[in-house]
């Protein structure tokens, strides 16, 4: 039998029950599409998570409080923080942390609260810190000025607005500098505005208010929250971050009188290991979503198998006729394998198209999510799995069909 004829026979076999074939191929379509869509979303989320950590700044070391870790398990206990003002002072000491820039230790604390001016109210993150905060986190001023050391020392009620906050609270005011805002009934004077930075991942970097940390302590920070929630330490260069991390760690262990590093009540992270964490998380997420999608594909395969099995039973008569006029076992095997292969290929193509469309659609609708990126790998994996499943699901029914005795089949009309 010529291949062209075999293809034609398979095609006719499918179009004969095209509604059923279509319904069954939907399983493969959905499977392939979901592999592509989910892996694309996972890929996008993980690369944006990576980007958002990278947005921290390459020479930043972050110190976070944590409960004492026993046997490697870290517990964040209550609202108490293990980080203190004297820790900050120690970390500012070039004798202890020689690879940090001068005044490179910047404590921060924050609270999510309402900021209002006139009738406009906006909930945002209010961050208290040192003058170096903006530079350390990569913010530049578009208008006005930053607060200075004396304003930190005296706890002046001055704020710098992120672009989003400025737009929401002063929708009609081009230049909010010199205006007043209310935070928890306390008036603050706007002295600066950060230039727009946009989103990093799902995080809106422009949705914040910065003020001296002492001001935050006096006026805005609830007593239930820790006074120092993290300390940023700026290394002299990105290549010095691991050295700084070690120096910071040693300094704080000494400060806290801890001899065993495993019992440290803080964690020190560099941007590099945050990036690595984000990458690892992204990979895990891609595999997880990919696995879910492959399950959908396998389900599609089972659909094909049940269709083909039913078809073989139903077409025993036709198989017998074909056998009687000279079809060999291989011809019958080939015919049914080709039919399921054809289903899988058509389903695969439709699935890839739907996957592309779906990923684009998700990007348009779920604006909070980063735009999904359809990777060639996802398409290849989806198409490959669809093919394998198509042939695999078709194999058993095809073998069953080919093993029908010609006379048995003719008898079964």
């Amino acid at each position: 039998m010529k291949l062209r004829d075999a293809l034609l026979v398979a095609y006719r076999g499918l179009t004969r029950h095209w509604v059923r074939a279509t319904l069954n191929v939907l399983g493969i379509v959905a499977g392939v599409a979901s592999v592509i869509m989910l892996v694309s979303v996972a890929h996008a989320v993980s690369s944006s998570a990576k980007a958002s950590v990278e947005g921290l700044g390459a020479n930043l070391v972050v110190v976070l409080p944590s409960g004492p870790s026993a046997s490697g398990i870290q517990a964040n206990i209550g609202s108490g923080s293990s980080l203190t003002q004297s820790d900050v002072e120690a970390l500012e000491n070039p004798a202890f942390v020689p690879d940090a820039v001068p005044d490179g230790a910047i404590p921060t604390a924050g609270v999510s609260t309402n900021v209002s001016a006139g009738s406009h109210t906006w909930q945002t993150d209010v961050i208290g810190s040192y003058p170096g905060f903006g530079a350390a986190r990569g913010y530049t001023l578009s208008q006005g000025r930053a607060f200075d050391v004396s304003e930190v020392d005296s706890g002046q009620p001055v704020v710098i607005l992120g672009q989003t906050v400025a737009r929401e609270v002063f929708p009609d005011v081009a230049n909010p500098i010199g205006q007043n805002v209310l935070i928890d009934t306390q008036e603050f004077k706007v002295i600066g505005e950060y230039a727009a930075r946009g989103y990093s991942g799902t995080f809106n970097q422009d949705d914040l208010v910065a003020m001296p940390i002492s001001t935050l302590w006096s006026f805005a920070l609830p007593t239930t929250l820790p006074r120092i929630q993290q300390i940023l330490v700026v290394a002299t260069s990105p290549s010095k971050t691991s050295a700084v991390a070690t120096e910071v760690s040693n300094t704080l262990l000494h400060q806290h009188n801890i001899t065993d590093p495993a019992l440290a009540d803080f964690t020190v992270q560099t941007q590099q290991n945050l990036v690595a964490n984000a990458e690892q998380l992204g990979t895990v997420m891609q595999w997880m979503l990919g696995a879910v999608a492959v399950i959908a594909l396998v389900t599609g395969g089972i659909g094909i198998m049940s269709l083909m099995l039913a078809t073989v039973g139903e077409r025993a008569y036709e198989i017998g006729v074909r056998r009687a006029v000279g079809a060999s076992r291989e011809d019958i095997l080939g015919q049914f394998l080709l039919e399921s292969l054809l289903l899988a290929v058509l389903g695969g193509i439709a699935g890839i198209a739907l996957g592309f469309g779906g990923a684009t659609f998700m990007g348009d609708v779920l604006t909070a999510l980063p735009a999904p990126v359809v990777t060639g790998l996802a398409v290849l994996v989806a198409a490959g799995v669809a093919l394998v499943i198509g042939v695999g699901a078709g194999l058993y029914p095809a073998v069953r069909a080919s093993l029908l005795q010609p006379v048995e089949a003719v008898r079964r009309q």
């Binding site: 039998m1 010529k2 004829d5 026979v9 008569y317 006729v321 009687a324 000279g326 005795q405 003719v410």
Partner: protein, 243 residues
């Protein structure tokens, strides 16, 4: 052409065997027109299926053109069915979803014939006078028409042997007459014909009648019509019981 030596065919499991054929010895010469007759369940169709390589004997040997079929694999047996045998069944056994043309073409498709396919198929169509129905689905034809299509399919590959299992059993008398006329013509072209029937009027058209009862051959006799060429022409109208 065909030789059966003590052929037996048993169905069912070893513990509860059902014997369909027992110790059948039969030789069919090239160019013969043989009718196999016998009551229902006597094993006629089983014998025909064995001769047609649709089935294999459970004991004894069956030689097709000098070859022991028990030594042939599925591919070789399929090849014999495809090239050397044309089947005509009582229920026509067309593929209902295919058109008349596509049904007739089937043996050529499996033979891998491409260039000659259209010409051969059209010739077979014309031979049975069904060219006006070429593009009709086979399922929409009357019984008599379906049987003519089945005959066209049986002869499209120009086989040496035509096997017919109650070919007039499901069609009206006029169509039955046409079918028998066609079979007679095929025999006149030096083809071997083996026909299964329980209708003696149909069997009378053959040169030789093999009677089978309870799985064994009980009698081999000459047909009442000695001249095969004359037999077709002088065949009496088939009685209603031929259906």
């Amino acid at each position: 052409m065909i030789e059966l030596t003590s052929v037996g065919r048993t169905f069912g499991s070893a513990s509860a065997p059902v014997t369909a054929l027992l110790d059948v010895n039969l030789v069919i010469q090239r160019g013969e027109f043989v009718a196999i007759v016998g009551p229902s369940g006597s094993g006629k169709s089983t014998l025909l299926n064995l001769i047609g390589c649709l089935d294999q004997p459970t004991s004894g040997r069956l030689f097709f053109l000098g070859e022991d079929t028990s030594t042939l694999n599925d591919t070789k047996l399929s090849r014999i069915r495809n090239r050397s045998i044309g089947f005509v069944f009582q229920m026509f056994n067309l593929v209902p979803e295919l058109t008349v043309y596509e049904n007739i073409e089937l043996p050529l498709v499996y033979a891998g014939v491409t260039k000659q396919r259209r010409a051969l198929t059209t010739k077979a169509l014309e031979r049975v006078g069904m060219e006006h129905r070429a593009d009709h689905p086979a399922s929409l034809l009357s019984g008599g028409e379906q049987q003519r299509v089945a005959i066209a399919r049986a002869l499209v590959n120009d086989p040496a042997l035509i096997l017919a299992d109650e070919p007039t059993g499901s069609i009206d008398p006029a169509s039955a007459e046409q079918v028998m006329e066609l079979l007679g013509e095929l025999h006149d072209q030096a083809r071997t014909i083996v026909l299964v029937t329980h209708n003696m009027a149909v069997a009378a058209l053959a040169q030789r009648v093999v009677r089978i009862e309870s799985g064994t051959i009980s009698e081999v006799g000459r047909s009442t019509a000695p001249d095969p060429n004359g037999a077709v022409k002088t065949a009496p109208p088939l009685p209603a019981s031929a259906r």
